[in-house]
């Protein structure tokens, strides 16, 4: 029986607490007495027989006929799936998506379906390499489809292979993969790692072009997504839902959503998901060894140590059928795994930004991505109201020194050097520069032929953080490169004590503090 999440109040007996900071972590012993520490629930038990669960979901879907009844000879079947931005860290093989796809393909074969395409729903994310695709779909599926060109990355700039399905009642363009739109059945296989994922966001965003995405990926929408981990109160999700309902009028979507438990850190890093005072002697020795090793290791080696990590997630649920009916059940499971009740807001929110986010898998956590991770995903890990009060302060831990990966993030460099040098206001930079970057032929070329994120992607990262920037008065990075922090429009401090001192002008000298102890993932249900 796994224990629920809880809120610890720091007292004299509280040991130093783990705080993630990029390619490493620190044991922070400087939390003032009374600091609230929000721990995620322990991992839920995994489904014992994954294949049986998948098969059962496909045969007993929600608000839909069973999958075999939707398959027939001569049909066009498209299977789309989430890209490598999920789950985080990457799942140890076999990936759950590959296992689901195998079942779908088996049923399709039994029904005599031979026109099948598998499309990675990477939207404006970078094209995955063959090895990355193989990791997701598995060796057998990869060998059967990839060489024939029947397994590929979605290309949001391939004008000939996009279909404009119309506009929503709010005037939002809906433009998605033509192959998907013109299929007799579109099966979407997702990994619903956090509450933000899935639902109409899967097809409506994963297979959409910039023409569609621009309607909800903008500063205004993001500021009104409170939070985007709570789709009922997220303007971004409202837009995606409107689009999804329009898509439903054109193509039959059979949604398969999977949920995972919180087994994020494999051995020997598993001590990182235990509560510090429960560390065994072995855990403490491992922690010490890892810390010493990280301190001595050069950057490249540390990067390899972390990025080679493969998580041994357990499947907690799989649901299939009509998108909204499925997603409702998915969210129940996600909440069960992530939700922690927190009473009231605090003046200061403390978060450690780890080495990995959705957009730096096998890549670098550059300062823009670190901001997105801290002020975007982690800040928005709430339901109800933000953990920090309006006008409060956010303290983040990350060195901001990883630099930029020129292969994956070419437009990020220009965004950082040119756009942020002029303004850090998401609205201002969006209005002036977004279209330039979105339509830049060089970025488009790199997105289509190399492994670069789309030119507009750094803007989206900045928009993710717009709600936090709008909500708080002070953002301070502990242990960060000062010049990088300044370029982002923030300040840097050496220690938590310094950061609190710097924030005292905003929140006073005895602020209430909450530290979100993640990863593993949590969702603060702030009352």
């Amino acid at each position: 029986m796994s224990r629920p999440g809880f809120v610890l109040e720091v007292d004299d007996r509280t040991p130093p607490l783990v705080v993630h900071e990029g390619l490493g972590f620190r044991l922070e012993d400087g939390f003032p007495l009374g600091t609230r520490v929000v721990y995620p629930p322990e991992s839920l038990p995994a489904v014992p027989d994954v294949d049986a669960a998948i098969r059962d979901a496909l045969l007993h879907p929600h608000d839909s006929e069973p999958l075999p009844a939707l398959l027939f000879a001569g049909m066009r079947l498209t299977i789309a799936f989430d890209d490598l931005s999920l789950p985080l860290p990457t799942m140890k093989a076999p990936d759950i998506r590959g296992r689901v796809i195998e079942h779908v393909l088996t049923m399709a074969a039994e029904a005599g379906v031979d026109d099948v395409r598998l499309i990675a729903a990477n939207a404006l994310h970078r094209r995955m390499t063959a090895a990355e695709l193989k990791h997701i779909v598995g060796e057998r599926v990869f060998r059967s489809f990839y060489p024939q060109g029947q397994l590929y990355n979605f290309d949001a700039e391939d004008r000939d292979n996009l279909a404009h399905l119309g506009t929503t009642d709010k005037g939002e363009d809906v433009e998605i993969s033509k192959r998907a739109a013109e299929s007799d059945l579109l099966v979407y296989v997702n990994v619903n790692l956090v509450a933000m994922d899935g639902g109409h966001k899967s097809v409506g965003i994963g297979l959409a072009s910039y023409n569609s995405l621009r309607h909800h990926h903008n500063a205004k929408t993001m500021v009104h997504s409170r939070s985007f981990m709570d789709h009922k109160h997220s303007a971004m999700h409202h837009s995606a839902w409107r689009m999804g309902r329009l898509i439903k009028e054109h193509v039959k979507v059979f949604q398969i959503e999977t949920t995972l438990n919180n087994d994020v850190f494999p051995k020997p890093f598993d001590f990182l998901q235990k509560r510090e005072w429960e560390w065994s002697v072995r855990d403490q020795a491992t922690m010490l060894g890892v810390r010493r090793g990280l301190a001595a290791a050069p950057h490249k080696l540390r990067h390899k140590m972390f990025h080679d990590m493969r998580s041994v997630y357990g499947l907690t649920g799989v649901n299939a059928g009509e998108v909204e009916a499925v997603h409702e059940r998915t969210l129940e499971k996600v909440h069960q795994q992530h939700l922690v009740e927190v009473q009231g807001q605090s003046d200061v929110l403390v978060m450690g930004v780890p080495y990995l986010g959705p957009y730096n898998v096998n890549s670098s956590m550059n300062p823009i991505l670190a901001t997105c991770m801290g002020l975007g995903y982690y800040f928005n890990s709430y339901r109800g109201q933000p953990v920090v009060r309006k006008g409060g302060a956010v303290i983040l831990y990350h060195p901001l020194n990883e630099g930029f990966n020129q292969l994956h993030h070419p437009s990020y460099v220009d965004f950082y050097e040119e756009v942020l040098a002029e303004s850090t206001d998401p609205v201002v930079v969006g209005e002036k520069y977004e279209k330039q970057f979105a339509h830049d032929p060089w970025y488009i070329h790199l997105y289509r032929t190399s492994h670069a994120y789309h030119g507009v992607h750094p803007f989206y990262m900045w928009y993710w953080a717009a709600h936090a920037m709008d909500h708080v008065d002070e953002v301070i990075w502990v242990g960060a490169d000062r010049r990088a922090a300044a370029r982002l429009g923030f300040r840097a401090a050496s220690t938590l004590a310094d950061a609190l001192e710097m924030a005292s002008g905003t929140v006073g000298t005895s602020p209430s503090i909450t530290y979100l102890h993640n990863p593993p993932h949590l969702l603060a249900d702030v009352r």
Partner: protein, 395 residues
Amino acid sequence: MLALEMFRSVSRTMAGKAIGGRMPGVLSGFAAPLRLVTIEEPRVDRPGWARLRTRLSGICGSDLGALSGRTSLYFSAVVSLPFVPGHEVVAELLEDCEDLPKGTRVVVDPVLTCAARGVEPCAACAAGETNRCERITVGHLSPGLQTGFCKDTGGGWGQQLAAHRSQLHPVPEGFSDEQAILIEPVACAVHTALRSGVRSGDRVLVSGAGSVGLFATLALRELTDAGEIIVVAKHPLQKELARTFGATEVVDPGEVLRRVRRLTGAFQLEPEFSSPYLLGGVDVAVDAVGSKQSLETSLQATRAGGRVVLSGMPAPADLSAAWFRELEVVGTYASARSDDAFAKATDLVATDAVQQLAKGVASYPLHRWREALDHAHSAGRLGTAKVAFDPRSSQ
């Protein structure tokens, strides 16, 4: 009279060439083929010539190049050693010169044309393209492309020099000497702007933000319909000045290609073991430095069919882009009478921006020439617009 004299010294020239670029202190120490001497006042007893007393004389990049041995030996045929350097000159007439009475304050157009040499005008001079004069080694003067490179005329780095009426431009009332000393380099920039062939709305890259680059920026902004002007600047004050003089974008040397690529929507290629270049880029690039890196950057950042203007004296560089992209590579040397460059330059120097800049001109007496050269080498970093000699001064 006292003067600084550049003399023939193979050992010093070699030493300067070897290490002067990396260690400018060496250049102003033992390695410069320059000495402070007492010599006879220069005098040219020909019609139209007069003696002048130097008030200020600037140190130009080409002077530093010559002293450090970086200047191509190509030019050895058009100078006559030993000579007194200094071709950016504000002086006063010590005697009447045709229509100009004694005591008139003038700036000198340094090119020693057919008129100054007392020969029949060559085709270029006849057309007013005086900077292209084909008789710069003949006539009654020793070879010398300009005042300051000819042993007969003297130069501004001496207390007196000789100049021909055709070279003299009276300084308007109200101009300080520091302002006036900028007229000649601004005239060169006027010529650069007119040679650049900029059409309405063209994107222009100016590589370098020393005085050559800054004045080129000013002239391009004031005399052409250039659209965006992107200036490559290294130091903070240069960046600020570049914006004041009309740059729309100011970029660090390390980010030129990236920024030009972004602004123009060009494609960037990464050749093996070589520096990247653009397919696409600016319409016109002005190399205002002359170094290999700056010239190659200009070539690599210019669109096919575009124009690269050599404003700085060029170092050897990879010209592959010029061939492959069919670039027009044009030189721009001094200024031409047909441009009316000195009159235009005088107007530009009268603007507030240049007046402010002129306040930063640093002047040295001749005997502190080592300090002056040191200062000139570091002028960009120190935020000095121009370093000059004031031969009247003893402090």
